[in-house]
């Protein structure tokens, strides 16, 4: 097996967690295949990030260039394609993030290489690599092979692997690959931070989250009452924001906020990984959902399988009785 290449992702001078998660799993693959782990780092003024990566990778391939000051897949793609052609790694790991999803498919076409996305596992089986990913909202696991491809591209689901701090002491190798000018056909304009709302859901010890299962906006009144009883704030998963029932700053998940309350009650939330990523560190997680197969029950400590329209009023009543 050739190298396992990991594309380091960073923003505002910080490496993303998924980078370390991928490097940890890359080590498992490399050890199984007798190969090396190489991290690839593109950026502007990223020397200190390269040093951090030496603990995890055998080689840190760095291209430090102004052209990488902001993320642009149209700039990243040709440079990364050049590096891959030069090194012929067996597998290239990219985070399944807004950044990776924008880059990996175009890289796949440029290299004519197979791409499997949003992996929760990747394993060496004989002389082949087999990917595991999820379909149908996490209700099915799909195993995917790469045919006879020499270079395999994958995007890896954030938090699929637990990162372990390494002590590799790898070497930093400065690349001199050409970096093209930002093309006129796609230009970075700016980053816009989310506006702060009236409630900061990350500051509350109790978070009551609702999801698609809430069905109607008028059912929010019942949830507000329940949240008030427990002294909590009301948060939600993406469909509730999409429907316009709660503002974006109440959304928990990878594209919203990450919360770590003492109590998290997920009501009618199916538990897609994007949501779970934002609440899995809560101390006690309770799920109420009518679908016993909903992935939220894998993330929760306590669950009730039932119709939230019946369970929430009953629960409100029982808690009120206990306090009386």
């Amino acid at each position: 097996m050739n190298d396992v290449l990991v594309l380091a992702e960073h923003l505002n001078g910080e490496l993303k967690d998924v980078t370390f998660e991928m490097l940890t799993h890359a080590r498992v693959l490399a050890d199984a295949g007798g190969a090396k782990v190489a991290a690839v780092l593109f950026g502007s003024g990223v020397g200190d990030l390269a040093e951090k990566l030496t603990a995890e990778a055998d080689e840190v391939l760095v291209r430090d260039h102004d052209g990488f000051a902001n993320y642009n897949s149209a700039v990243y793609q040709p440079v990364l394609a050049d590096v891959i052609r030069g090194r012929e790694p067996s597998v290239v790991m990219i985070g399944h993030t807004a950044f990776g999803v924008d880059l990996a498919p175009s890289l796949s076409v440029a290299l004519d290489a197979p791409l499997a996305t949003d992996l929760i596992d990747l394993a060496v089986e004989g002389t082949d690599l087999v990917a595991t990913r999820q379909t149908h909202g996490g209700k099915v696991n799909e195993r995917v092979g790469f045919g006879d491809a020499a270079v395999r591209l994958v995007t890896v689901r954030p938090a699929a692997f637990a990162p372990q701090a390494g002590s590799r002491g790898g070497s930093v190798i400065a690349l001199d690959t050409d970096v093209p000018q930002e093309p006129a056909f796609r230009r970075f304009v700016e980053y816009v931070e989310a506006a702060a709302g009236d409630v900061d859901i990350t500051k509350s010890d109790v978070v009551i989250a609702i999801g698609r299962g809430i069905k109607e906006e008028e059912n929010l009144a019942m949830i507000n009452e329940f949240a008030e009883l427990l002294g909590g704030v009301v948060a939600c998963s993406r469909p509730v924001v999409d429907a316009g029932w709660l503002p974006k700053d109440r959304q928990v998940g990878s594209s919203g906020k990450t919360v770590k309350p003492k109590l998290y009650v997920a009501i009618g939330v199916s538990g897609q990984f994007q949501h779970v990523a934002g609440m899995k560190s809560a101390e006690t997680i309770v799920a109420i959902n009518k679908d016993p197969k909903a992935p939220i029950f894998q993330a929760a400590h306590f669950g009730i399988v039932g119709d939230l329209m019946k369970v929430v009023p009953a629960l409100t009543e029982k808690i009120t009785e206990l306090r009386a």
Binding site: A98, F99, V101, D102, P105, S106, S108, V109, A110, P114, L115, T117, D118, V130, R133, H136, G137, V140, N141, E142, R143, T155, R186, R187, F188, V189, E190, Y191, V192, A194, V206, R212, R238, D249, S254, S255, G256, K262, L263, S270, T284, V286, A287, K290, D291, P292, F297, Q298, H301, F302, I304, G306, D307, A314, L315, E317, K318, I319, L322, R323
Partner: protein, 262 residues
């Protein structure tokens, strides 16, 4: 402005007990309602808003079996002008690469300024076809778009990154934009629209029409190989508090009291 919208018909499995087919390569579709993929529905709405705002023409395109005509008809009922179905068993069962190639062959032969599609299909969750298509067409792309403004020969989009951060990007047209849910409020079709759309023609194209040979289409044309489907291993999971809603709630109330919340 000519807009092509790529849509997919998917089974609604949100609250369903998904069963695997006996061959381990698909799920049992019986009893599952079919619907337009959620983010594709937002992409369709975005195309209709542009059409209304600046005089455009919207073509919806899908790859799928005859049942997918329903999604195309509903799109026309809402205001799409033309509908195309890549209709050939040889095109089915492909990975994102094979699907994108068929779409690229079809769209490459059309006049277009903008291609819109959903950022992810809710069934296979690939998040891959839109960008692959853009690269095959040789046009720029942007993913996870939650805001969009058409300029003069250009489009400025807001991409939703992690943690609520939005990245604004300007692209020249033509371009492919993958739309995230929540960008707009998808409309419902009117009864009149549905009645009119029922009579409209749906153009069909076979693999041969797209100049795709057997090795380029469907499973044979796929770069990745589906090996097997399984149920996810049952983890430790939650402790389920059972009984009637009242009984289960009483148990949960006690748990919450023990932990100092109630």
């Amino acid at each position: 402005m000519k807009i092509v919208v790529c849509v997919k018909q998917v089974p609604d499995t949100a609250e369903a007990d998904v069963k695997l087919g006996s061959d381990g390569r698909g799920i049992e579709m019986e009893g599952l309602p079919l619907q337009i993929n959620e983010s594709d529905n937002y992409a369709l709405e975005e195309s209709l808003l542009i059409k209304e705002d600046r005089d455009g023409e919207v073509t919806v395109i899908t790859l799928g079996p005859e049942s997918a005509d329903e999604v195309l008809r509903m799109s026309m009922a809402k205001g799409a002008d033309e509908a195309v179905r890549l209709a050939d068993p040889a095109l089915e069962g492909g990975d994102a690469w094979a699907v994108a190639l068929a779409l690229a062959k079809a769209i490459g032969g059309m006049e277009y300024d903008l291609v819109l599609t959903g950022c992810m299909a809710s069934d296979d969750g690939m998040t891959q076809v839109g960008v692959t298509l853009a690269e095959m067409l040789g046009v720029p792309h942007a993913t996870y778009v939650t805001e969009m403004e058409i300029g003069d020969g250009s489009v400025t989009v807001g991409r939703e990154l992690e943690g609520g951060l939005v990245e604004r990007v300007e692209m020249s047209l033509p371009a492919v934009v993958t739309i995230q849910t929540g960008i707009n409020e998808p409309r419902y079709a009117s009864i009149m629209g549905i009645a009119k759309a029922a009579k409209r023609e749906i153009h069909t194209k076979s693999a041969a029409d797209l100049c795709l040979d057997a090795g380029e289409a469907g499973e044979a044309g796929s770069r990745t190989k589906l090996l097997k489907l399984d149920y996810p291993p049952a983890g430790e999971g939650a402790e389920i508090l059972d009984g009637t809603p009242s009984e289960a709630s009483a148990k949960l109330a006690n748990v919450l009291k023990e932990k100092g919340f109630a």
